[in-house]
């Protein structure tokens, strides 16, 4: 055999054992095989602590500003009912009649 031309050397070489692929590799490969929508639903990203603190502070500041803005908006003035005179028709034919008080009763 082309590989076994020195059986003693081959036998000695077999004393170096190397185990198979570790489980951590299986995990990395299964992550690789997930579909994009699955990754979108269940995936996670790493965010450095300083960045996450900055984002949290920014969100808090925005929420505070929004709240402050709502509290300082002046109250809307009370609505006064207005009377429209658009359909008012002035009397054109005025006929004044004086009725004495004893006739009115």
């Amino acid at each position: 055999m082309e590989h076994d031309d020195d059986p003693k050397l081959s036998e000695l070489l077999q004393e170096w054992h190397v185990s198979g692929a570790p489980h951590s590799l299986d995990a990395r490969i299964s992550k690789l095989r997930r579909s994009w929508w699955s990754t979108l639903l269940t995936g996670s990203i790493r965010v450095p602590i300083p960045v996450s603190v900055m984002i949290a502070a920014l969100l808090l500041a925005m929420a505070g500003a929004l709240l402050h803005q709502r509290m300082t908006v002046p109250a809307a003035p009370a609505i006064v009912p207005s009377i429209s005179l658009i359909e008012f028709r002035p009397v054109t034919d005025l006929n004044v009649r004086v009725i004495p008080s004893h006739e009115a009763n």
């Binding site: 050397l9 000695l12 070489l13 004393e15 198979g20 095989r33």
Partner: protein, 169 residues
């Protein structure tokens, strides 16, 4: 390649590729990264693999081998990739397991000799398969394997002598 085919290919070849990368780099972490990158390439660029050009095993070995060589070149842990004149010194057997000494002796081989020897001795690949996987001429593969064995006989002489055969120069 479907998800099922990919899963089957991974289950079938992961251990062989890991062992190869581990023996080439000497590092479990580096071996894991290399095998991961190999399957990443297969997953993302399935078209790279052409069934008519050879077996999936040879293709994956070839990819892992290329990634490994790139990494070794980056780390520069050797003098030359292919060093015909390289002569490995005998390993020091003091206080060591035989397996550790074999590991040390193989790590001392130039990378091209090491990969040929690892594929031939540990993965039991034929010279033709090695030639296909590494993209080297058959004559070059034979020559590398011969030199690798010569070097190992020299560096492992203390162990081979205790087995009843005297080797080395």
């Amino acid at each position: 390649m479907t998800d099922e085919e990919f899963g089957a290919a991974y289950e079938q070849h992961k251990d062989m590729l890991y062992r190869f990368a581990r023996r080439m780099t000497g590092s479990p972490a580096a071996a894991e990264d290399l095998v991961h990158d190999c399957f990443l390439l297969l997953w993302r660029k399935t078209a790279c693999y052409d069934r008519e050009r050879g077996s999936l095993r040879s293709f994956l070995i070839g990819v892992t081998r290329n990634l490994t060589m790139k990494r070794l070149c980056k780390e520069r842990t050797f003098d030359e990739l292919e060093d015909d004149a390289a002569i490995c010194a005998p390993v020091d057997p003091a206080g060591r397991e035989r397996g550790e000494m074999v590991e040390q002796a193989i790590a001392g081989l130039p990378p091209m000799q090491r990969e040929t020897l690892v594929l031939a001795e540990y993965e039991e690949m034929s010279l033709e398969e090695i030639s296909q996987a590494t993209g080297a001429e058959l004559a070059a593969v034979k020559s590398r394997l011969h030199r690798a064995r010569e070097n190992l006989r020299r560096s492992l002489a203390p162990l081979l002598e205790t087995k009843g055969t005297a080797y080395g120069t």
